[in-house]
């Protein structure tokens, strides 16, 4: 199963850069990136991004940026994705703002070293874990939620004291241009930079050597990024796509279920990494679910969604063609199915009678099409989910806590949510990230801080107390050895022989 490929309008992008800089930009992306990287490294070496007050100030600046330029962001995302203002504000801007506020209010605590429990034997020593910044990190965003994908990791990287280069997706070019324009006015110009680079240049850029790479996007490119990063032993966090299953049990509130699923699936015209990709519906409630979905969609977008300004568009014609292809070759259209390529419009569509060999069940949909495959039992659903690669999210709708519990325990995914979708990815308190093919590493809230930090273990000892240290020195003596082994075995919690050294 492969995720949709990302086409790159490099010519448009180069034209954009020329316009922005006011002159012909002769530098290639890798050359430009190398310059930015040098500046960021110098800033990091000088300790510019380290102080708590500095980090705090940068985080507050991010909050101001989101507030001052709400209209600009709404406008840019409207042009890039036909995103409604409501979605932009609630799911992009406020999310970034909240992450920044959460980080700012917890920063002091996060930055404090964690002290180890002291035992009697180590009362003269101090063991602690100190969080250090990694250095210069690269954040590569995807186009589907272009603001959030760049700025939420940026917030974490800032909080952890790093310097950052963000690379917004070229595909959501208006948003990228906006970020390029805005960031220098709000954030420190030596520590944080925006680089407009296409997919073609990305791998070359990674070779320049960063201290961490945070990538959001599809699995194919993600794997290439990881392979190139491996050459310089650069750690990576990958947030990749996948097919997020959603099981609808026969015991559930069908009306609410349909609304929540429809909201999650059809926002941003289905172009959300955490949307339910397909539904496994218990045979007993299949018809009711379809009926409830029809009713929800009518309520949301009216009888002709093409006229509704609440409904988005696909990012480009290629995507329309891809989605159209998938929907026409799979199952039966129960709702929607209309396509208008010129408008990049695909109606909110629900397919039924889908089987696992259908094309739509082999590829991530990433569009406003919801396939429903009928299953006869929870066992069957769990088995089908287990046959696919581990997704970013697993969803289940059921009033029966045993069903929810089984689904949670017998599947593996980045995240899990029962009786709703998407929300688990919006909470700063929960880690968000993939597992297996859906990615590695996590972020949001404290997890972002930890991702962009190195936990350095420190043991501070004194020189003056040598009385028991001698036990460990040569010439080795069996008696000394027994003494040390005995002492360490005293501690049931296994604090170690070195504790008494």
């Amino acid at each position: 199963m492969s995720a949709p490929p990302s086409p790159s309008p490099t010519r448009w992008f180069k034209a954009l850069k020329r316009t922005k800089s006011g002159e012909s930009c002769m530098k290639t992306c890798p050359v430009l990136c190398a310059e930015l990287l040098n500046r960021a490294r110098a800033a990091h070496r000088a300790g510019r991004a380290m102080k708590e007050s500095f980090r705090h100030a940068q985080l507050e600046a991010v909050v101001r940026m989101m507030q001052d330029h709400e209209c600009d962001f709404v406008d840019a995302l409207g042009k890039d994705l036909h995103k409604h203002r409501f979605e932009t504000v609630m799911l992009e801007l406020i999310m970034v703002k909240n992450e920044a506020l959460y980080a700012a209010s917890n920063l002091k605590r996060w930055m404090e070293p964690q002290h180890m429990d002291r035992t009697l034997a180590t009362s003269l020593d101090e063991g602690l874990v100190v969080s250090e910044p990694l250095g210069v990190v690269l954040v590569v965003g995807a186009w589907s939620s272009p603001v959030q994908h760049c700025l939420v990791p940026l917030v974490g990287a800032i909080a952890a004291g790093n310097c950052v280069i963000i690379n917004p997706s070229e595909i959501s070019s208006h948003t990228a241009a906006l970020l390029l324009r805005l960031l220098p006015s709000y954030l420190d110009n030596e520590c944080y930079h925006v680089l407009l680079a296409g997919t073609n240049d990305l791998l070359e850029i990674i070779d320049l050597k960063f201290d961490h790479i945070f990538f959001t996007g599809n699995g194919t490119l993600g794997s290439k990024v990881a392979q190139v990063a491996a050459r310089s032993l650069t750690p990576v966090t990958l947030v990749l796509g996948g097919k997020n299953p959603c099981y609808v049990d026969r015991q559930c509130d069908i009306g609410t279920t349909a609304k929540r699923i429809a909201w999650a699936r059809f926002q941003n015209a289905g172009q959300t990494m955490v949307a339910p990709d397909y539904v496994l519906c218990h045979a007993d409630v299949r018809d009711q679910l379809v009926q409830a979905l029809r009713s929800s969609l009518n309520q949301f977008y009216g009888s002709d969604p093409r006229e509704s300004c609440s409904f988005g568009r696909l990012v480009n014609v290629e995507t329309v063609k891809r989605v159209k292809d998938l929907l026409w070759k799979s199952g039966k259209v129960a709702i929607g199915g209309q396509v208008n390529e010129a408008e990049k419009y695909v109606a909110p569509t629900v397919l039924t009678e889908v089987v696992e060999t259908d094309p739509i069940m082999q590829h991530e949909v990433f569009g406003p099409v919801l396939p429903i495959q009928t299953v006869n039992s929870l066992d069957e659903a769990i088995s089908l989910i287990g046959q696919q690669e581990k997704p970013l999210c697993v969803y289940v709708y059921s009033s029966n806590s045993k069903v929810v519990s089984r689904m949670m325990r017998e599947t593996s995914s980045g995240t899990f949510c029962a009786n709703d979708c998407v929300l688990q990815s919006l909470m700063p308190m929960l880690p968000f990230g993939g597992v297996g093919s859906s990615g590695m590493g996590s972020y949001h809230g404290r997890h972002s801080f930890d991702t962009f930090s190195h936990r350095k273990s420190c043991l501070l000892r004194g020189t003056r107390i040598e009385c028991v240290t001698y036990l460990r020195y040569p010439p080795y003596d069996d008696r000394n050895l027994s003494l040390m082994t005995w002492a360490s075995s005293l501690s049931q919690k296994g604090q170690g022989w070195c504790q008494i050294l």
Partner: protein, 499 residues
């Protein structure tokens, strides 16, 4: 344990000689078969329950307790490691880790509930630690038992199945592990696969859910690249040149003893051994005689005859170190003697070593201690920062400003003041590298976390749909205002909680 499985387990390991041997396709199939079997076990859920994990950890305790002599013999064969060093750094360290894991397992496995706010009071939000699946642990030859068993403790605690690949360069331990692991741990869930470079390459073509590697940077790159193809996360425990800074006031003799102990333990073949010293000329003049005295106390006047010195692992390694020493432009002030037939190099201290010296290029990993002169702490810190981030950094000083400056102005995997190496023995502290010295960490709870996936879970109910409705289309300004107000009043987190 089924006897047949045990024999099959033993049969998989054919390279008892330590030389890389080319095996036929049949053995590559065996690798695939083993991993397939482990995957099926994992899918069946057998490695998940707490009692199973505990029983396996207890099995490992029994393995160590009942085979101490055999372990000592194997270590003696591979590295002529003295009994004292084996017990401390191979057996006891794993025992402590096991005790720590067994007594904390229950709490580690519990879901971690997160702080809820007013709107999520009706929801359950928590983080579950879930096993990754089938993991691969590749060990190294310098601590051939510890570097396999310590990560394995983490992998088992986290509920995974595991393939371990001991280093072929320490063949006696490799053979011992191949025999003992299937005997004390469930062969359905844990397997030993042996081999050299070629077999390891083939093994890396198989998809694992996590790879844990201890070894050199050059091999690490290849492993990381192979893993990236499968999107497999990796933990790398690599080496580096661990600097030791000596400044300010201190008890030079005590420092020299601790430094000498850390440096020459296992003949210097430790990834966290102090690789080189940075100090002023004046300090050096006090340090060298103190080191000489410490070494004499430890190993006598003729270290070659001391039973407390381990041996170098191979002729090749010996030759490499001799070459490094010979090409050095520094001055040998202690030791310097070598003997090819015994792969012996005396505990050696070299002074007047410059930045560009042959001893300052690669990690030494042997009983040679260069002393580089840097008159001030500032110079020493600049020297360290100009180089790749090491696995450990050491400072000897009674002055807290010196220790703090070194701690805050450098970056390294771990840090220890006024001692060497011991910071890695505490299960409460994470052990791992940064930059060129590695990625990820383990020991204690950190091992459990490394081999787990932290899954964010949210359990909602049907209630509060009236509030939920605010988020649905058709989008209206008033709904947006309401939601904005609800999230904007608190100068803090979590918009979604009212959705």
């Amino acid at each position: 344990m089924i006897a047949g499985e045990r024999r099959a387990g033993a049969a998989l390991c054919k390279s008892g000689t330590g030389r890389a041997e080319l095996h036929g396709a049949k053995d590559m199939d065996e690798q695939t078969e083993v991993v397939k079997r482990l995957r099926e076990s994992f899918r069946s859920g057998v490695s998940l329950p707490e009692h199973f994990r505990r029983s396996q950890l207890e099995g490992m305790v029994a393995l160590l307790r009942e085979n101490e002599q055999r372990i000592l013999d194997a270590m003696h064969q591979d590295l002529a490691k003295p009994k004292f060093e084996v017990v401390l750094s191979e057996i006891d360290i794993v025992m402590n880790e096991l005790r720590f894991a067994i007594s904390n397992l229950k709490s580690w496995m519990m879901p971690e509930y997160v702080v809820k706010n007013l709107a999520t009071k009706m929801d359950d939000c928590f983080v579950r630690r879930e096993p990754l699946g089938v993991v691969l642990i590749i060990g190294a030859w310098n601590y051939p038992l510890q570097l396999i068993l310590l990560p394995l403790v983490g992998a088992i605690s986290a509920g995974n199945c595991a393939v371990v690949k001991p280093s072929e360069v320490s063949p006696a331990t490799e053979k011992l592990l191949t025999e003992l692991i299937p005997k004390y741990l469930s062969p359905a869930c844990y397997a030993v696969l042996c081999g050299g470079v070629e077999e390891t390459k083939k093994l890396l073509e198989i998809k694992f859910d996590h790879i844990f590697f201890t070894g050199s940077q050059s091999v690490a790159r290849k492993i990381l690249q192979a893993a990236a193809v499968h999107l497999t996360p990796v933990t790398l425990e690599l080496g580096g040149k661990c600097p030791c800074l000596i400044y300010g006031d201190l008890d030079v003799q005590a420092a020299a003893r601790r430094l000498a102990w850390a440096k020459f333990f296992n003949m210097g073949q430790t990834c966290v051994a102090p690789d080189y010293v940075l100090c002023s000329q004046q300090m050096r003049e006090a340090l060298v005689p103190a080191l000489r005295k410490a070494l004499e106390t430890f190993y006598g006047s003729c270290p070659q005859k001391s039973p407390d010195m381990a041996h170098l692992i191979s002729q090749r390694h010996w030759a490499r170190l001799c070459d490094m020493l010979q090409r050095s432009k520094g001055t040998v002030v202690i030791g310097g003697e070598t003997a090819e037939d015994e792969k012996y190099i005396a505990p050696t201290v070299v002074v007047d070593v410059k930045e560009t010296d042959s001893l300052m290029v690669d990690e030494i990993f042997g009983p040679i201690l260069p002393i580089v002169t840097a008159e001030t702490l500032g110079e020493a810190i600049d020297f360290v920062n100009a180089r790749e981030k090491p696995l450990a950094l050491y400072v000897f000083s009674d002055n807290s400003e010196v220790v703090t400056a070194a701690l805050e102005r450098t970056s390294s995997g771990g840090f220890c003041s006024n001692d060497g190496m011991v910071h890695m023995c505490l299960p409460g502290l994470p052990f791992g590298g940064i930059g060129a010295s590695g990625m990820g960490n383990y020991h204690g709870r950190w091992g459990f976390e490394t081999f787990s996936h932290r899954r964010g879970c949210m359990l909602r109910g049907w209630a509060l749909e009236r509030i939920n409705m605010l988020r649905y289309p058709p989008y209206t300004e008033s709904n947006l205002d309401w939601l904005r107000w609800a999230t904007g009043t608190k100068k803090s987190w979590n918009s979604c909680s009212v959705l």
